[in-house]
Amino acid sequence: MIATIARKEFIELIRDGRFRWAAAIVLALLVTALLAGAYYQRDLVKQQRAAQAAEQARWYDQGSKNPHSAAHYGLYAFKPRLAPAFLDPGVEPYTGIAVWLEAHKQNETIFRPSEDATVAQRFGDMTVALVLQTVVPLVIIMLGFNTFAGERERGTLRQLLSVGLRARDLATGKLLGSAAALALIAGPAILLGATTIALIGPAGGELRFMLLAVAYLLYLGIFLFLTLAVSARSSSSRLALVVLLAFWAVNCLLAPRIMSDFAAELHPLPEGVAFKARLQAALHDPAGPSIMMRDRTAELLHRYRVTREQDLPLNLAGLSLQVGEDYGYEVFGKFYNELYAPMEAQVGLLQRAAALFPQLGIQAISMGLAGTDLAQHRDFTRAAEEHRRAELKVINDDILEHPVKAGDMHFGDHDLWAKVPAFRYQAPAVGWVLSNHALTFVLLVLWFGLAACFAWTGAARLRPL
């Protein structure tokens, strides 16, 4: 009986011109977003690989020069893109995708696509994530708001219940039929996404893509259940449509903006100019490195069993530079923590707000699995900073180990540059991402369960009168 209802519901939707148009529009939007994202990703990955190789070659081939000059010469580290990143660019357009590694400074990431955005792009990029998070729920509402309310209005519900049909069987059949019709949109979209990922790479994003598909099916399932629930409980299809559209507008349009503003108000970032001024003041505080320099010099004197600095077989300029860096690490660490702490608190608040608005949950999970959320951005900057520190240690140790007479200068060569390993960034494992978003996943599953219960109980109470 349930299969009969599901089959009828499916055929009825397919024959409905509204469904055909909606499916065509959604598929066109998804294909456009997929192709645009894939094209951008392919281009970006190619450019990044070429730039990273050129940077490395430039580093190795910089010729003979003072090692500290080489440290200032610096090099770029690029955040490698994960395959599913083209589905959801996340925070990358605002945080940037490359960092300039040089002596004395822990730079912020640069090359932010948003800086190059045209005026039209201020209205938002057409991404697969946007279509799935905003457009498809609207299509589900438009197709499903009259599922039960319409039956009641047309009088077919009375006809159905008069033949001895149980309301729950009707609800289950309708749910399966609607889901099958929506699968006609979701199926090709998932297949196309998987094919695009396989074609453009980089490899290794399959698991993330599959989990993304599951998360989006969960999110869209919430909308399907809510639509059926509201339709079952509404006295008219017009009322059902108004209620569902109001929920859609609040969830998909208002909540992301209002909650972001609220989070920013609750956890404000440090004021930019004052923050930079304080950072500079702390970096240039002479008291900080001088104590560190005194202690480390004393340690070297003790190790080499001498009492005067000039008797050390070392170039203390190298020590001074390293001490300056070590002091800088502490200062940068403290200040960047101060900067990131409110950002992470804001993100945490937005994730918890998924308890009220599922859109915020899927947004967070989507960015996480695409590798474009704040946590993974921070992980990249941490890895880049570790690389910078390793590079400076190699350089400063080389300076330290090469004492020079007054007026002379030590030069580094290719062998020294080759001691600095190429920057290789390994994105966090899927397990790490999932653990970051465990609460959000739980909230989405709860939404799904509650929406299903809401639909189930609503359908069980269906009355034809």
Binding site: M1, T4, I5, K8, I11, E12, R15, D16, R154, G155, T156, R158, Q159, L160, L161, S162, V163, G164, L165, R166, R463, P464, L465
Partner: protein
């Protein structure tokens, strides 16, 4: 086959059906006459299990509707004033769908045979129902009852809005259906149609059955006079 025992149904302080006792035997057509608000549709809703009685019992084939909801519905066919079908489906598809939900399964040929028996032209079977007239929809409703082998048929204002020819065709179909041994309970405003088709006529007012007579006992003029007397008397 269709029976109410002291059926009473109230909506807050309004009593829609008041101690109603009815019995429609197999093969009989019983017309329930009355003005709007007399309790005809409420009685039908009680037979369909859409409303629970406040007092009394409603029985179909000896089974209480309240305690045997699914079983009684399996024995019933219901044709409302407007047979509501799915516009994107053809007549035969609608029949197949409702038939399967009612627990019966027939092949395509048999379903078409039922449609033909119900008077629907073969060339209309595969046309979408959205293009059907009201009379054609009513015929699909009759075909549903035939396909279900229903023991009882309940109709709510079935000929309202039908042209005389379609109404006559429908009357013939009903009589043919009753001749198979099914009980037919029909709520209507149409005195003359009721007289023409029914074996017995009941007149209800304020939820009470005030007269129940066989059609043979009444001439058209008697029925009209009786009906108007009841309506104008202000009391049952």
């Amino acid at each position: 086959m269709l029976r109410t025992e002291h059926l009473t149904k109230r909506f807050n302080s309004f009593t829609a059906v008041d101690d109603l006792c009815l019995n429609v035997a197999a093969g009989e057509i019983f017309a329930l006459l009355g003005p709007n608000g007399a309790g005809k549709t409420t009685t039908i809703n009680c037979f369909l299990g859409f409303l629970a009685p406040d007092q009394g019992r409603v029985l179909v084939d000896g089974l209480d509707v309240n305690t045997h909801a699914l079983e009684t519905k399996r024995r019933l066919a219901y044709i409302p004033e407007q047979v509501n079908l799915y516009g994107h489906f053809s007549g035969v598809e609608n029949l197949a769908y409702f038939n399967e939900l009612g627990g019966a399964r027939h092949d395509d040929v048999t379903l078409r045979k039922f449609l033909c028996e119900a008077g629907l032209q073969a060339d209309a079977h595969d046309r979408r129902v959205s293009h059907y007239s009201k009379g054609m929809r009513q015929k699909v409703g009759i075909a549903m009852a035939l396909a279900k082998s229903a023991k009882a048929l309940i109709l709510d204002e079935p000929t309202s809005g039908l042209d005389p020819s379609a109404s006559h065709e429908f009357t013939v179909l009903l009589q043919r259906f009753a001749a198979t041994g099914a009980a037919v309970l029909m709520a209507t405003h149409d005195l003359f149609h009721a007289k023409q088709v029914a074996n017995r006529v009941g007149i209800v007012r304020h939820g009470k059955l005030v007269h129940a007579l066989t059609a043979a006992e009444l001439s058209d003029a008697d029925l009209e006079r009786l009906y108007l007397e009841v309506m104008e008397s202000g009391q049952p």
